[in-house]
Point group: C2
Chain length 608, copies 2
Amino acid sequence: MFGTREGAHYLGEGHCRFSVWAPHHKSVEVHLIDEDSFFPMREEKKGHFLLEIEGVRPQDLYTYRVDGARQLPDPTSLHQPYGVHGPSAVVDTRRFCWQDHEWSGIDWEDLIIYQLHVGTFTPEGTLDAIISQLPYLSSLGITAIQLMPVAQFAGTRNWGYDGVFPYAVQDSYGGPAALQRLVNACHEQGLAIFLDVVYNHLGPEGNVLPQYGPYFSDKYCGPWGRALNFDGPHSDEVRRYFVNNAIHWVRDFHVDGLRLDAIHGVFDQSAVPFLQELTKEVRCVAHTNRRRVWVIAESDLNDPRVLLPASDQGLGMDGQWNDDFHHALHAVLTGESDGYYRDFGQIEHIRQALDCGYVYSGQYSPYRQRRHGAPLGPDLCRRLVVFSQNHDQVGNRQQGERLAELVSQEKYYLAAGAVLLSPFVPLLFMGEEYGEKAPFLYFTSHSDDELIERVRQGRQREFSDFSWPGDTPDPQATETFRRSCLRLPHGHKERDQSKCLQLYRSLVAWRSYLRPLRAQVSVGGDPQMHIWLRFRRDEQDFFLILNYVPERLAVTFPPGRWQKRLDTSNDSWPLPPGKKGDRFVFDSERVEGYSLQLYEKMGGTDPA
Amino acid sequence: MFGTREGAHYLGEGHCRFSVWAPHHKSVEVHLIDEDSFFPMREEKKGHFLLEIEGVRPQDLYTYRVDGARQLPDPTSLHQPYGVHGPSAVVDTRRFCWQDHEWSGIDWEDLIIYQLHVGTFTPEGTLDAIISQLPYLSSLGITAIQLMPVAQFAGTRNWGYDGVFPYAVQDSYGGPAALQRLVNACHEQGLAIFLDVVYNHLGPEGNVLPQYGPYFSDKYCGPWGRALNFDGPHSDEVRRYFVNNAIHWVRDFHVDGLRLDAIHGVFDQSAVPFLQELTKEVRCVAHTNRRRVWVIAESDLNDPRVLLPASDQGLGMDGQWNDDFHHALHAVLTGESDGYYRDFGQIEHIRQALDCGYVYSGQYSPYRQRRHGAPLGPDLCRRLVVFSQNHDQVGNRQQGERLAELVSQEKYYLAAGAVLLSPFVPLLFMGEEYGEKAPFLYFTSHSDDELIERVRQGRQREFSDFSWPGDTPDPQATETFRRSCLRLPHGHKERDQSKCLQLYRSLVAWRSYLRPLRAQVSVGGDPQMHIWLRFRRDEQDFFLILNYVPERLAVTFPPGRWQKRLDTSNDSWPLPPGKKGDRFVFDSERVEGYSLQLYEKMGGTDPA
């Protein structure tokens, strides 16, 4: 069957089909732990072992015994109820009773993504606990949530990028059934759900893949150690393993999209790139299931080929995170110029990001010490995902400060508007909508002392580029994790009545009203002070002003009679369509320092 | 100035401009050795040192003294008269009096390339000695010679792929002036000249580049050790160094094309690939100089993007060596199935190569243990370069046997015809045209004992995939080099009167007559036995039969009246247009085993 993963397939009525690719071994046996029996697998073709067993129940624990000696968990394990070092469990993914038959996904143009980390989003830190928050998220107006990786990692505290069982759902988050429940609940709420998946490396603890086969390359040394083998001998099987993983989440877990972590860590010289194949197959599964499924890359390459279709030799991805937008905005608002922020800091950089997508599209980057990027066409620009904060941009600071800790309220509101009213897909980081102050720090819970020390030191090294004072919090300390949990997570009055949340609600509502990704957009302004964007669609005509300086500015308007709809420097913000006021702007208007203002044209002539 | 290399530029009248990129150093001085004076260079911008000195003469020896301590030759040295460990010499490349103003190059469709190794082609082993052979090569009918790399390597005996001064012409070959004389003489004879250049690694002895700057990457581990830095910090300068090298040969040495060694060893994740930039700039220089210059890649990737234009996200190369064609032909004719030959061995593979260019265009390759390649469009097929022998395919055999040693005369003639009448650009390996029997072995002349031993062992390891008997000849032994020199190089009667040479002359002449790359080509046949190609252009209509089995075969012809023009199983071969015989073929004909036959249509109907 197309895209059938390996691993344990529970077929019903006690039948279970086990299959594993184990080219490093001569023999493989299934060990059913409860009854302590060993079942030798058949080598169907070289390196591929298969066996169907009767009398198996879902939840049964098993391992593979290789060459009559070592016992290992299944590389395609769906559940590790006792963690990465324990046995795997049989899961009947088809047992779940889906209620989302009417659901077909969300249009690209309507995406407003909310990124969250399962362990810190709620006090419980589970997938099920998120369900109770869905009405709140829905009322905020976002249209999709995006989970940081849920693949099984060592211990209970981790961002998720140290996953070692790409098919298993973290036991401490609730395991695979909990993810199905959450996806189903999202769809019932009208929310899409994206999963963050890591196809560029595996975590440092509990990784059994190298014991089974040549999953890793010796040709490339990625930023996280040995890169995966996507173009060497046996790479067909390795590619299949990860392509099937993507299909697995889409088909068996109904997810609406995947965010592929750091594809610049995927090294692949083959004539048909792995990522191109993956995108194509995911799209095919989505079509077959009549659903919209989006594949979004995190990429540090500023390379249009990520987004170009396969027919134009691209990877054919639907979207890509645009760090340049973040860095441009962050550097201007905070004045920071350490590390990668040295490439940014001028309002002109923000204008370039708004106009051209990438700020670096071939120019020399002082931080990278080389030219960087290539120009993105205007159509591809619309496929970028932007944010003023995310797990990396907050969490990869030494003290994990959120933007709310770094800038004034007026700047914070300006940043929110710049993201939410941009002609890109906006992404919010959990808690930013009400100005959460808890830091988001890097945390782990490894069990190996040497590794723990290595991670500690690596973390300290990472900040050597920056001139931040103070000690680096210990990633392994429980306290570091605890401090990173949201302080105002649950239907808390302080949260629900915060001014900030009101602004976010208004901005999200205005975004849904003016629909920047469906409008004709033009960008302009004074590169030293402010930027304007004009959105035109059918009869609608909006003029958005972003003032990036503290001074009150006089801004010239396009011809017409304009009515102000939103002003971040005000104290309250209407929801669209909003009652029509009486005061109109003709020609020009003075706007507050560090503010965002949205005007709608109510008539008048426009020669353009 | 566009594409201006660094190094010593002799400006005339004793003025010389020295420049070097040395970011690893705080100070650089030019040391003029004859007068034993040191001249501190100015740091123009970070890492870039510059100085103009008076009183310098061409041939003057110099080194760079870095940080007041070590003296090193110039990384952009044009001449190392005392070898890789000696000083560099100032060269006035503009002193040479070119006589090739009328020359503008050769059309792609007319290329017939003759590959030669300078050291073993003539008894003298020099560039100048080749000049005396040009009338012979010209009379053979080839249109271009291609030199194996001439960049300065350690010692006097080397294939050239261990070069360490990419801008210098090997001292023992005669240095840069000799190359200019040879190019000029080629052009006067109406021959184009290609240079083999190595942009994927540097040789193991005498490489000073890492002492000057970050020329090497720590991200990729190529097949020849550390890969060059084409996408990391400071890669702009590294790329510029090699792009300028390509321009250097085209502009200052008038070469008509470059053969880029093993581009699968060029690792580059940047949004604008180094090789795309290089091809573009070479093309620009060629246009400016109103000459046709061809960039041809050796590539193991079977990737159409090598040949696709930059506007379609390709590297935009003009041509690419097609090893698949060689392997298919070689495996069928020799029956060998070791190493990479295991992927070939069926006549159908030859048909695929003729029809589709790549044999592997996405299929599983047992040798590579993964799927390999992507399909090449019919237009791009014409950009492939094919051969039945080359330095690698002969020299990378343990005993360096040429095809003439491995197969019968009838098969040898068939191979010659299959290459020379193919719808690709044919390449001959020196000596194959008269059936030279001397082996072409791997030889070196390093000076470091440990390296010598390492190369010996590496060579032995390389043959572990093959079941060849006997010892691996010692690469370092003078005898190994001596045995590899052509036995019949100089206007030797035995050579000039050889039957084989007559056949080659005839085949080359027929190629020039029927011009397969300008014709409409169709391919067919019986995949177990023979292949036919039909070439149609204007009024011409040729039918070529390649019989790959020992039996006499009955072959069905397309409708018409056909006259035989060439039959490799005959004892002599006419030159085109050839006197018209009386015997015509209608419908079908019996053709000899292991033979190639060329028929021309002399009338009759053809419904097609």
